[in-house]
Symmetry: C2
Subunit: 366 residues, 2 copies
């Protein structure tokens, strides 16, 4: 299913400088994104779909050329970034044999170029959010934008320190990102879409599966500043001897299946849980969303501390404007930095790379 | 089941100074540990069992008094630390009404006191490990021990910076610890014990479930130093549209169960996986072990960097002498610090708190 994000007005100084119709794509580990500006329009359009539906994505690109450039490949160019720009290069070549060019752009350069554009050029793009204060639009002070940190959360996480336009370093990253949340939750809960899982997470209660400081101590641990409601161990309440003995191999209808040490099969533990009614999808979803978001927040804070950077922008398709996620990231940055560092979010968080690729194309084609 | 760790000879200068038989317990979120020295012996004995078997643990303590102090509660004392020292205080009071005293000691102080003792007093306690160089005993140079970092991994993770004996600060922590690994894996794989899960992890192949850099790019991403074999997204390969459509609710015998949005039930996704034969327990176990260990390693490195500490000791019952775990932690510290920081492990990693409580009792009872 195609996701469409709000289009934006194309800043005046960049308009009408195009000699070619540009389709910019960013093909990541989970999502493929496209940015384009219909012929004769002053809008930028943003669309995305799962990378595993790559054939459908290719059809989307064909339809964009069909509807917005009169079907002409010859007066079009495809600018690709993200890992898929390499992995699917041959496919793009085959599908678009007549376009003027198919170029590949460095992913990190595109991310930063796109983010710089959103920060500097697009009004009401940047905002702060937490559950208490709500959402606030931020107008970045141009003199104080650099240095900043970009924490880009896609399937995995990349953390970049940006010192000036086009001057950046990838300082770190994490393999615990959107792919981890999505993968584990689809495995455990049967969620069919990322958004279904997010809606469960929104109403879940993680305290049914997480061990809190209060569960261990009875109270808080004042001496080291841990509140009774702090999460001591994510999923700490899930392991229960009883849930696995003595009928760990039994399924719902009572038929015993072989207990096996053969690792080619997984036992139906979820079914056991169904009978126990002990854990539910919503609580599990919230717990894992908290765990992954808190963890990214902490690593982002530590990297910002190590590199002495005050402002942290969160980008990538993990967030999707989801309030619980943004609140958790904001809380983590505020908690660890004791209010010294600030988390910023973006309306077009998932399109930094595609936007950057689009801008690169505009520069090189004029 | 009681776990018994190698006993050690009690250093001479601490022997025979006891007026009371001391039982030191550290009751954590997952495991309850006990340290004692049988009457007339020069050995320290270490035992542990799951905290949820607290009644069995109490029976163990009774049997220790029975067999090693002639059944006399009056000439015994119980020194308790960990969250359970508070949570189960009334239970201990009721079960041991005649002991000379039941005291509670601060958990972090006990951890550090225990670790300092192991580092300074016990030969062949500290070692380094990685898969290439194997295991090497370390004899810490006394002048260079402080400052050091303790990363204590139990259900959750606590990170302490130690500047001198009894001088320490808790600088951070993480809710992604042993409880998370154990909880999620018992939910997904049906593992009945932590050790069963570790043995699966040892022979699993995480590349069947993790997205590698090479899976996204086709090759490495040389410009930013990412090898094709680096993990880009833990569990990134698990979400598959096909695995959830159209029969996400079907179980093995072909009986369809209701697809429901009721979050009180989990669908039997593991069973779907069984049919698909796509993912197996061992691969999933290894992936999550890698994810949690890498993550702890990265946070430990960043905290060590922020606080300018060169040496990092890993303690807590998460590790259990498991080679894959130690290699992953060592690799993470070496990778992130570019060889500037060193990971150390301990033979009695799980007993730092209980050992510290024991020593505190010796001091105060002489």
């Amino acid at each position: 299913m195609t996701q469409i994000t709000n289009d934006i007005e194309y800043p005046g100084d960049l308009r009408n400088t195009r000699s070619l119709f540009t389709i910019a794509v960013d093909i990541g580990g989970s999502l493929a994104k496209v940015v384009y500006s219909p012929e004769g329009s002053d809008r930028l359009i943003f669309e995305a779909m799962e990378t595993e539906l790559i054939d459908e994505f290719v059809r989307l690109l064909h339809s964009i050329i069909e509807h917005h450039n009169g079907g002409s490949q010859k007066s079009a160019q495809v600018i690709a970034t993200g890992g898929g720009a390499y992995k699917f290069y041959d496919l793009l070549k085959k599908e678009f044999p007549d376009v003027k060019c198919i170029s590949r752009q460095d992913e990190m350069e595109c991310l930063i170029r796109g983010l710089d554009f959103f920060i500097h050029e697009i009004p009401e793009e940047v905002f702060t959010y937490n559950d208490i204060d709500g959402e606030h639009i931020v107008v970045p002070e141009h003199a104080k934008i650099y240095p900043y940190m970009l924490v880009n959360i896609g399937s995995g996480v990349s953390i970049l320190k940006v010192d000036a336009p086009n001057k950046f370093t990838r300082v770190g990253g994490s393999s615990l990102g959107g792919g981890t949340l999505w993968g584990l939750l689809s495995l455990i809960t049967g969620a069919k879409t990322y958004d279904e899982m997010l809606s469960w997470a929104h109403r879940g209660d993680n305290t049914n599966v997480d061990t809190l400081v209060g569960d261990i101590y009875g109270t808080g641990y004042d001496k080291i500043g841990l509140k009774p409601t702090s999460i001591a161990s994510s999923f700490g309440k899930v392991f229960q001897r009883g849930a696995h003995l003595p009928h760990a191999g039994a399924i719902a209808d009572g038929t015993a299946v072989n207990e096996t040490t053969d690792d080619s099969e997984l036992t139906c533990t979820s079914e056991i849980l169904t009978r126990n009614k002990k854990f539910n999808r919503a609580d599990i979803s919230k717990s894992l969303l908290y765990a992954v978001s808190n963890n990214i927040g902490q690593i982002a804070y530590l990297q910002a501390k190590v590199h002495n950077v005050p402002n942290i922008y969160f980008g990538g398709s993990y967030i999707r404007g989801h309030l619980t996620t943004m609140n958790t990231l904001s809380y983590a940055i505020n908690f660890w930095s004791q209010g010294q560092k600030q988390a910023f979010f973006l309306r077009h968080e998932g399109y930094l790379g595609a936007m950057g690729a689009f801008l690169t194309a505009q520069e090189t084609s004029t």
